[in-house]
């Protein structure tokens, strides 16, 4: 019981730092999805150069461990910026570097998810749209995208959970997120209560993942329910 009390106590101390984790994750998800969409479009484009760039990018990024990506961005980008644009970004909030690194990491699997979801929608759907006089863009937006979205959803949720976990590396460049906070707690207790502290941390991650899973299931259900009630 003592342990449970301790874990609950640590939960209370860790939770205030959840903001950082959420800001980092949500920003990376939004930016990474946009970049992923661009990559998927490039992969499907008629330009061979765009296709190659997109393919190489995805293959390199997918092979890069998150911690390496974070270090490369954190140490590399300031050099790049001062060298090329003569801009000093070393004073940037370190969170930005994490967001950029996670955005790059997230965009690769997401572009693949989007591409395969798009390909799963039959070519005939586009042709039918054109033959009722819609433009290719109108057909994409109104007919193909909604269908691809439903297909992509479960895999997308998986990637989001992965991103969330990779975000736990944020502390490595000195951003005080939940993981950093946990380390401080352990240090303050002179190394004591370490496993209770990290258990509390794991619990928080578990609850967030659960929420994502439930959210996706709800969205999927609402799609199916909509079809059933209308037809009944």
């Amino acid at each position: 019981m003592e342990n449970v009390r301790l874990i609950i106590n640590f939960l209370g101390q860790l939770l205030p730092a959840i903001n950082i984790t959420l800001v980092v994750s949500v920003s990376s998800i939004i930016l990474g999805s946009l970049l992923g969409l661009g990559l998927a479009a490039a992969k499907k484009s008629e330009s061979a150069i765009l296709r190659v760039i997109s393919a190489v990018y995805v293959s390199v990024i997918r092979a890069t461990p998150s911690i390496i990506m974070i270090f490369v961005v954190y140490y590399g980008m300031p050099l790049l910026f001062s060298g090329w644009f003569h801009v000093n970004i070393e004073g940037w909030n370190r969170m930005y570097f994490v967001i950029i690194a996670l955005t790059l990491l997230f965009s690769a699997p997401v572009s693949e998810i989007m591409r395969s979801a798009y390909e799963s929608v039959s070519k005939g759907q586009m042709e039918a749209g054109l033959m009722v006089g819609m433009t290719p863009f109108q057909t994409f937006y109104r007919i193909l995208l909604p269908q691809a979205f439903v297909v992509a959803l479960p895999n997308f949720a998986n990637s989001v959970i992965n991103l969330l976990k990779e975000g736990a590396l944020t502390f490595t460049i000195g951003v005080v997120d939940m993981v950093a906070k946990a380390q401080m707690i352990v240090a303050n207790n002179s190394g004591g209560y370490a496993w209770q502290t990290y258990c509390a941390l794991a619990l928080i991650y578990w609850v967030i993942s659960l929420a994502i899973d439930k959210g996706v299931t709800l969205v999927e259900k609402s799609y199916q329910a909509k079809r059933k009630t209308i037809a009944a």
Binding site: E127, A128, L130, V132, G133, I230
Partner: protein, 246 residues
């Protein structure tokens, strides 16, 4: 009304259409018959700009140009004046039967939603599916889906409707309901170009039959001429084969 001259199309050096010329007049019901691989479907897809022809000329809906010189504006004009019924129906899977029909009216034709729904309901009634308006394609039989496909084309009131083997994907017992709808359309004066293996339809509903083989039009004329008195050996062989299997 629609005039095609010397339409050519090939894939990777393989010539599928070797110069097809075709005239469609208002009220025509033209059946295109012929063995598989003769280019019938390719012909429809090229006339309607689903594919871009390699050569030839089109005169339709104010467009009077070589296929290769069609601007995107011309292509849009052509598409907005034709209807297309697909072999695999290709209903929008994320839309109900009614929405499948209103979609083109609202988005492409800018018809008001209430007006579009009125038109769509009338079209559904015409194909006998008023009671299925809120069903999704996955909840409809093949025959019903194809009837919605036809209603979708009809509702746009195009100058001509192309049918690409509309009954070929259907179970035999569902073919009749689709053919009946097509027959009704033909009798009400709709201009139709139909690629079909249904010889009864070609013979008894259309006013003109085109026999295609190996990328050419081998023979064309009234159903009577083509079916009862074919002049080409190739036509005779095809008809003997296909009628023997009926």
């Amino acid at each position: 009304m629609l005039k095609i001259d010397h339409l050519k199309k090939g894939y990777e050096g393989n010539e599928i259409l070797k110069g097809i010329s075709l005239d469609v007049n208002k009220g025509d019901v033209i059946s295109i018959i012929g063995p598989s691989g003769s280019g019938k479907t390719t012909l429809l897809r090229n006339i309607t700009t689903l594919e871009r022809a390699d050569g030839g000329h089109i005169q339709f809906a104010g467009v009077d140009k070589d296929f290769q010189k069609l601007s995107s504006q011309d292509i849009q004009t052509i598409r907005r004046n034709v209807g297309f019924v697909f072999q695999n129906y290709n209903l929008f899977n994320n839309k109900t039967a009614l929405q499948n029909i209103t979609e083109g009216l609202i988005v492409a034709r800018k018809v008001k939603k209430s007006e579009a729904e009125k038109i769509a309901l009338k079209a559904l009634e015409r194909v006998g599916l008023s009671d299925r308006q809120n069903h999704y394609p996955s909840q409809l039989s093949g025959g019903q889906q194809q009837r919605v496909g036809i209603a979708r084309a009809v509702a746009l009131n195009p100058q001509v409707i192309f049918f690409d083997e509309p009954t070929s994907a259907l179970d035999p017992e569902l073919v009749g309901e689709v053919l009946k709808v097509m027959r009704d359309l033909a009798e009400s004066g709709t201009t139709m170009v139909v690629v079909t293996h249904q010889m009864n339809f070609a013979r008894h509903v259309s006013n003109k039959v085109i026999f295609m083989a190996d990328g050419y039009i081998v023979e064309q004329g009234s159903p009577e001429e083509v079916f009862a008195h074919p002049s080409e050996t190739r036509t005779k062989e095809f008809l003997t084969d296909i009628l023997a299997n009926v």
